[in-house]
Amino acid sequence: MNEETLQTLTWLIPAGPLLVFFLIVLFTKHNRTLSWLLAWAGVIASLIMGWTVAFNLFAEDPHHLAEHPTVVQSALNWIPIGAFSSGNWLKMGVAVDPLTAVMLFMVPFAVFMIFIYSVGYHNYGQGPAHKRGVPPHPSEEEPMFSRFFAYMSLFAGAMLLLVVADNLLLLFIGWEIMGFCSYSLIGFWYARNYHIEPGGIPHIPPRQAAVKAFMTTRVADVVMMLGIVFFYSAFGTLNFSEALSAHGLEHAAEMVGVGALGIMALLLFTGTVGKSAQWPLHVWLPDAMEGPTPVSATIHAAAMVSAGIYLIVRIFPLIAVGIEGNPGVGWVIAGIGAFTALMAATIAVAQNDVKGVLAYSTISQLGFMVAAIGIGAYIAAAFHLITHAFFKALLFLSSGSVIHGMEHGAEHTHDHHTDPQDMRFMGGLKDKMPITFWAFVIGGMALSGLPIVTAGFWSKDEIFADAWYQWAHHQNPAGLFVFIVLALAAFLTAFYTTRQLSLTFLGKPRHQLAEHAHESSRFMTVPLMALSVFAIAAGWFGIPEEFPVLGPIVNNNFFHHFVAATIEETMHELETLHLVGHGLEVLPFQWVPLIASLVVALGGIGVGYWIYGRKPLAEGQPDPLIKPLGALYPFLQNKWYWDELYQIVFIRPVVYFSEVIVYEFMDKGIIDGIIHLVARTFFTIGYYARRAEMMIFGDGVDWVKDQFLKTVRELRYFQTGRIQEYTLVSMLLASALIVLILAINYDLFATLF
C-alpha cells in the first residue's frame, strides 16, 4: 500500500468514533438501535483502518524498519507562529511507527469487543426504567443508552487520537478528552446512592468517584503540562520523531543539561502517575469501579491507564537519557512502579468486591510496567502493556458477566439489598455460567502468569529477565530491587487470582443470588471468547529465541524485533554520543528469572488453591486469611488507609488552611488588623489632637481628625465589589508598571531630565 493511502488511513483512524460521538449526540434522538449500530460502525471503521495500517507495518522487514521507524508521517499546519507567511507553524500531525502499530492492533480490537459487550450489558430488559442515573434492573432498559455509546465513542476516538499523535500536544488533547470521558462515564449512574453501615468499608457513590478521578488526574496533568512546556522550550518542537531523535536529544542536552532532561522526564512521568494510577495518585482507580463494567474495562484495559504507560514508552529515549544523567530518576520511576505493584497486590488479596480485586490488580500490573521502564526494559514494558490489555479486558468483561448473572438472581429473588458484586455471596457459578467461567480462568491464569501457555507469563518473564540482567550484567542495584519486589508481587498476583476464581466459581452457591444466576446473552459471551484467544495467543509473538525447547521451535521473537525497531537506531546513536550507557540489548537466556517466575506463578496458584480451592468456603464462613493475618487483614482490606491518610494529610490541611490561615489569620487578622491598627492609631492621634485642640487650636484640628477618620473608614471599604473600581486600580498599577519598564529600558529619566 502506498504511503499516501497509509497517511489518509491514519488520519481517519480516530475520525470514526469522534464523528460518531457527534452523530449520536445530535441526530439519533435516543434511538437505541441506531446508537449502538453507529457506535459499532465507527469503531469497526477504526478497527479496519487501524489493522490495515498495523499489518502493513508488521509485514515490513525489521531491519528496514529500524532504519526508518516512522513509516507514516503526515502533519498539517495548525496555527501560525510569528508573522503570517513567515513559515513558522505549530504543526499537528499523525505518525505511525512500530510502537504505534502494536497499539493500533490492540486498542480498536479491545474497544470493539467492549462495544459488542456493552450492547448486551445494557440492553437486557425492554420495560421502561424506573429512574435515570441508577443502574437499571435486569428487566428494565437503560434510559441513557445513547448517551453511553456517545461517550464511549468519544473515549475510543480520543484514545486512538492519542495513539496516532505525532506530537506531545495532540497526545495531550486526546489525554484530556479521555479525562473528561472517564469523568462522565464513571459518574454515569449519577443518582446512585449507598447506605454504608457503620464500620463497613467506605464506599463512595459514582458522582463522587467521578469527581475524585477527575481531580486526582488533574493534579498530575498540571505537572505534566509543565513538562510539556519544558519539553517545548528545550527541544523547540513537540514532535516526537524530531525531538526524541539522537540529534534532538543531543541538542537539548546541550541546551538545558542532561540533569534537566531527567527533571523533564519526571514531570512528564507525573502525568503517567496520575493517568496510570501509580502510588501516590492511585486512589482514584478503585473508586472508578463505580462506572458500568464496560467502562471499567475500557478505562483499565484498552484506553485510559494504557495511555499513561504509552506516554512513558513513547518518550523512552528521553527517560533513558535522563536516567543516565541522573540515576535518581531511574530509582524514582522504578521505585514508584515496584512499590505500587507490591502495595496494590497486597490490597487485592483482601478485597471482596469482584471488580475491586481486578482494580487493584490493574494498579499492580501497571506498576510492573512502570518499574520496567524505570530499569530500561523498554520492550518488556510495551509487551506487558499489550498482553495486559487483552487479559485485563477479558477479566473485566467476565466479572461484568458474573455481576450480570448475579443481578439476574437478584431480579428473580427480588433481593435488591445484597451487593451482587460481593464475592462472599457467590460460589458455585462454574456450572451456571460455563462460558464466563472458562473466560475468567483463561484471563486469571494469564494474569497469574501460568507458565508457557498464557500471554501473561511471557511478558512478565521478560520484565524479570530484564531486571535480573540489569543486576547480573550491569551491577545495577535497582535491577535487583525491582526483581525481588516484583517477584513478591507476582506471587501475590497468582495467589489472589486463584482466591478470586475459587471464591467466585467453585464450591456451592453461598447465597440465593448465586443460586439463581445464569449465563449472559450471546452479545456478552462472544467478546469473551474472542478476547480469550488473544489472552493466550498474544504471548506467543514474544517468545525469546533462546528459550529452551520452545525458542528454537518458534525461532522468531517477532514482538521484540518489531518494537525494538522503533528506537533501536536512536539508542545506538545515543550510545555513541555517550548520552546513554548502552543501547537496546538482546538479552541472553538466564535461568534465574525463569525459575523465579515459574516458582512465583505456580507457587501463588498452588497456595491459593490450597487455601481456597481445595475446600471451598461454605455459606457464612469467614475468609480463612482473617485469622492468620490478624491486624494486617483490616489494614489490607481498608486499602492501607490511603484515602484516610490523604484525608488527613491533604484535604483537612487545605480546608484548615483556607478556613483558619487565609480567612481567620490573613483576612481577619493581618489585613483587617492593619486597617484596625491604622484606624486606632489615627483615632488615638485624633483623640490627643482633640485634647490638644481643646487647649490650643480649635476647629482646625477637629477637621483634620475628621478627615483622618473618614479616610480610615474609606480604607475599610476598599473592597467594594465594584468592577469599575477594580479595573481602574489595576489599570493605574499597570500604567505605573509600563512607565517603569519603559523608563528602565530606554533610560527615560535621562532623556526627560
Binding site: 499546519n77 469599575q724 493605574l732
Partner: protein, 181 residues
C-alpha cells in the same frame, strides 16, 4: 488630498462622537453618537485603503452591534432617567487614569517609538504599494481565512465563538418561566 480630508473628517467624527458617547446623559443619544463614531472609524479605514474593512465596519458595527445596543437601551428604558448623574463617584480619578494612559500612549508613540524603531521602518510615509496589491487584499484575505496555510483554524474557532455567543446570549436573555407569568 482626498485622503487627508477623509482622515480628518473621520477623526473628527470618531473622536467628537466618541466624546459624546462617554459624556452624554441621554443614553439613546449616546448610542446615536456611537454610530457616528463607528462611521468615523470607517472613514479612517477608507483613508487607509481598507475599503472592505470599512464596509464590514458599517455592516457589523452599525448594522448589527449598534442596533443591538439600541434594543438593549429600549428594553431597559425605565432606568434611563436623564436627570441622574451619568458618572459615578470616581469620575475624577477615572479622568486622571485615562489621561495618564493617554499620556503613556502618546509618549510611547512620540518619544519611545523613534527610539526603538530602526531607521528602516518608514514612519512618516505609507509604504508605496501598487493598486493591484490592494485590490487583491480581499482575495488574499479570503484565501488566508479558508486556506490550509492560513487562518483556517482561528477562523473556524471564531465561528464557533460566535455560535456559542449566540446560544449563550439567547439562553441568558431568555425570560425564565416565573418572570413571564
Amino acid at each position: 488630498m482626498a485622503e487627508q480630508i477623509t482622515f480628518i473628517i473621520g477623526s473628527i467624527l470618531a473622536l467628537g462622537a466618541g466624546f459624546i458617547v462617554v459624556t452624554n446623559r441621554n443614553l439613546f443619544h449616546g448610542a446615536l453618537a456611537l454610530m457616528i463614531s463607528f462611521l468615523g472609524v470607517a472613514a479612517i479605514y477608507l483613508s487607509l485603503d481598507a475599503g472592505f474593512l470599512a464596509a464590514a465596519q458599517l455592516l457589523i458595527y452599525i448594522g448589527a452591534i449598534s442596533i443591538l445596543i439600541i434594543f438593549a437601551i429600549m428594553l431597559t428604558r425605565r432606568m434611563m432617567q436623564t436627570t441622574e448623574d451619568p458618572f459615578n463617584s470616581q469620575f475624577l480619578l477615572a479622568l486622571a487614569a485615562s489621561v495618564t494612559v493617554f499620556a503613556i500612549l502618546f509618549s510611547a508613540i512620540v518619544y519611545v517609538w523613534p527610539l526603538t524603531a530602526s531607521n528602516s521602518v518608514p514612519l512618516a510615509a505609507k509604504t508605496a504599494v501598487a493598486d493591484a496589491v490592494l485590490q487583491d487584499t480581499v482575495v488574499n484575505l479570503g484565501s488566508a481565512f479558508v486556506g490550509a496555510d492560513g487562518y483556517v483554524i482561528p477562523f473556524e474557532l471564531a465561528s464557533i465563538l460566535l455560535l456559542a455567543a449566540m446560544v449563550g446570549a439567547i439562553i441568558v436573555a431568555w425570560p425564565k418561566p416565573e418572570d413571564v407569568a
